[in-house]
Point group: C7
Chain length 92, copies 7
């Protein structure tokens, strides 16, 4: 089963593996956006972020408020994760 | 079990397999629409999109805003995925 | 397990099997109605529809708008699927 | 596992087994009520109904509108199923 | 696994076992309250109730309306079940 | 698997084990608060409470209304359970 | 399977393991924030907190109200957990 799970999650896992120690932006099902340095993850998409801050969009543009030096986000809340880094190689 | 999973997901997986490196439009449960180039997927319908942008419908027509060079969408948020490409062969 | 799964889903699977290449109407949990030609399905009720269009009910009656030549609908969004075809034989 | 599943679902399955080819009323999580002749079911409570109609309660009493000659309802939308038939024997 | 399942659900199962053929009040996630005679159940908390009626609280007190001679309630809608019967022995 | 399940739920199970026959306060996902004597539980967090009452907060302070001598709460509705008892020993 | 589960949850589990006996802030899906001393957890993210208090943000700043000396939070309600402690070593 571990082999099965490993392979089925590989796209998400490879994506996260390449994003370790970089800044990612996480959008959550409750409507909030969290930015932080990805320190760790697991195959439920649980995420450990350092220097996490919530991004709030206001009429004057986005502002951020700190929410913790190290934050655990439970994976089932995640809608999407974005990063500005695109690898040269195609094999995600 | 991997054989079992593989067969049960085959329709969705074949669809996504044929859409690799093409532009797809993803509608999500939170009401948003995301367009991007499909780079990878897995059998939870987790998707990796490049040059992703959110499509917002306004009274003046649809507009788009960039959301990241490479985005991971967690599969359980997906309602539907569309593409304009229909294969000639019937066997999806 | 595949034997178990196969048998438990048989009613839905037989229904969909008989509807291949016919027009079906799918009602989704977000309130939308999608009509299209069923090309493929799997036992999560993931559906592949060709020439899919969304049916919107207006005061002037139902109207439709195209949403893609080939659309994948994630099965967990489905409330119901209807077709106008009733087989003569009773064994669904 | 099939033995396990079989036994755990027996109450619901026996109920549905006795209702085959009779009219049932299904209440769904989206608030709608569907009436139809039960033709088939499986242990996810997926239901196949013939001559299905939606029952809408108006100030003038309930009205019904046809929704398809044969309808598949995905079991996870079901709240309750009722029938007017009570078997004489006690063993449901 | 059947042994495992059997033991994990034992509290709920014993409770329901003692309530067979007695009147129970079921509160559902959609906000409704259903009262009826418990005829059967399974370990998903699927319930078969006879002479089921919905209890509606009005400014003039609770009123009830019949909803079917025999009703199947899908277990995942259940919030709580109450009964006025307390067994003398402590071992639930 | 039973060994696995047993160990993964041990924190919650030990907590509930120590609370048997004491009064606990349960907050549910529908916003209600239930207080009662914990008589039994299982590893889905299904709870059997005696002398259960719903706690309603009003402008004049909390009031309570009885909801049953013995109540079964389905575990998936539970947000949190509190008790005023702290064991001396640290090993929860 | 226990080995599989153990490894898949390792990021979240290691995070919680390092936070034992420290104050953590838990944000829940119902919008509330709970602060308390983490005493125990399991791999469903069920949490046991001592001296738990709910943090409410008011126009005059955050206030807190006690909710129990020892509280069990069901893991599926958790959105995120934060702590102010960052370990020196990188291996989360």
């Amino acid at each position: 089963m571990s082999r099965c799970k490993g392979s089925t999650m590989s796209s998400a896992m490879k994506y996260l593996s390449k994003s370790i120690n970089t800044s990612i932006l996480v959008s959550l099902k409750n409507g909030s956006m969290i930015r932080g340095i990805l320190k760790s993850y697991d195959n439920h998409l649980n995420l450990i972020l350092d220097n996490a801050e919530e991004i709030v969009t206001t009429p004057d543009g986005p502002t951020s408020s700190k929410i913790g030096k190290r934050v655990l986000i439970r994976g089932d809340n995640v809608i999407a994760i974005s990063t500005s880094k695109i690898e040269e190689e195609d094999e995600v």
